[in-house]
Symmetry: C2
Subunit: 127 residues, 2 copies
DNA sequence: TTACATAGTGTTATATTATAACAATTAAAA
DNA sequence: TTTTAATTGTTATAATATAACACTATGTAA
């Protein structure tokens, strides 16, 4: 439980109350009235928030979402479902999935310290 | 087995012989002597090659790699290991992994039509 | 062959995403 | 306190990706 700096808190609050992943420049636009005026200020806060696991980056969308598992202290094992029509993104919290992937060894016996998994399909509403 | 257009073939050959994932503008630089002069020409070929499964995009790196499983006719189930030091990327071909993920259902019973998984760690050489 | 549809190409301009470099300020730890 | 690390503010620029339009090649079907 880390205390966030001013910019980090402003940006986290915005992402956290967004029903969908937010892109960096959409964040910038939304926080300009709070005095955050430059892309770098946004990216710096995003980097830190990702590092401490408060938000995750959806790599296939260049967008950021608040962690929906209060347990993700650090972003090292993330899985998302992404609707290809409405772009709704949900963080998957399945202990069997995370167990499987955390223990996965490739054919050389190598284990990995981190992973990111993105599933694509149609959400309930869009089917 | 689709026959590639001229630009698609040039760009595929380049990526295929590269020992590491290539970024779009590195590709552009390398094919300029062959008459491909604009980013859009590169991106169009990349889009098509991804669509037909001859190459994959490593989302966390914005880079492209030739498919290493001759079986991936279409890119809908991809998994990679990525070394965080040397950036070496390998396509993982594990039937148990692909079986597990293809059949994965989330807690609402939803199955997905596509996924992309990226594992991170240190490769043999970098450990 | 001719007509038509589809896919691919070439080109210019521009949009979107992200980082470099430097100076100043604040918070924390020794 | 002093000194170290983290954060902020700012300008400029790099890297990644798409829009729009005109044209050309290729395949299919009458
Ligand atoms: Zn999380
Ligand atoms: Zn949907
Ligand atoms: Zn493949
Ligand atoms: Zn390595």
């Amino acid at each position: 439980m880390q205390t966030l700096s001013k910019n980090q808190q402003i940006i986290f609050d915005l992402i956290d109350k967004s029903p969908e992943p937010m892109k960096a420049y959409a964040i910038l636009f939304n926080v300009q009235k709070k005095g955050i005026k430059a892309p770098l200020q946004v990216y710096r806060a995003l980097d830190k928030l990702v590092e401490i696991g408060k938000i995750h980056k959806i790599e296939s969308r260049n967008a950021f979402i608040a962690c929906q598992n209060s347990s993700c202290q650090v972003s090292k094992a993330t899985a998302f479902s992404i609707c290809e029509i409405c772009e709704k993104v949900t963080e998957i919290s399945s202990s069997s999935l995370s167990k499987y992937l955390t223990n996965f060894k490739d054919k050389d016996g190598m284990k990995y310290s981190k992973y990111n998994l993105e599933f694509f399909g149609l959400c309930k509403k869009c089917r």
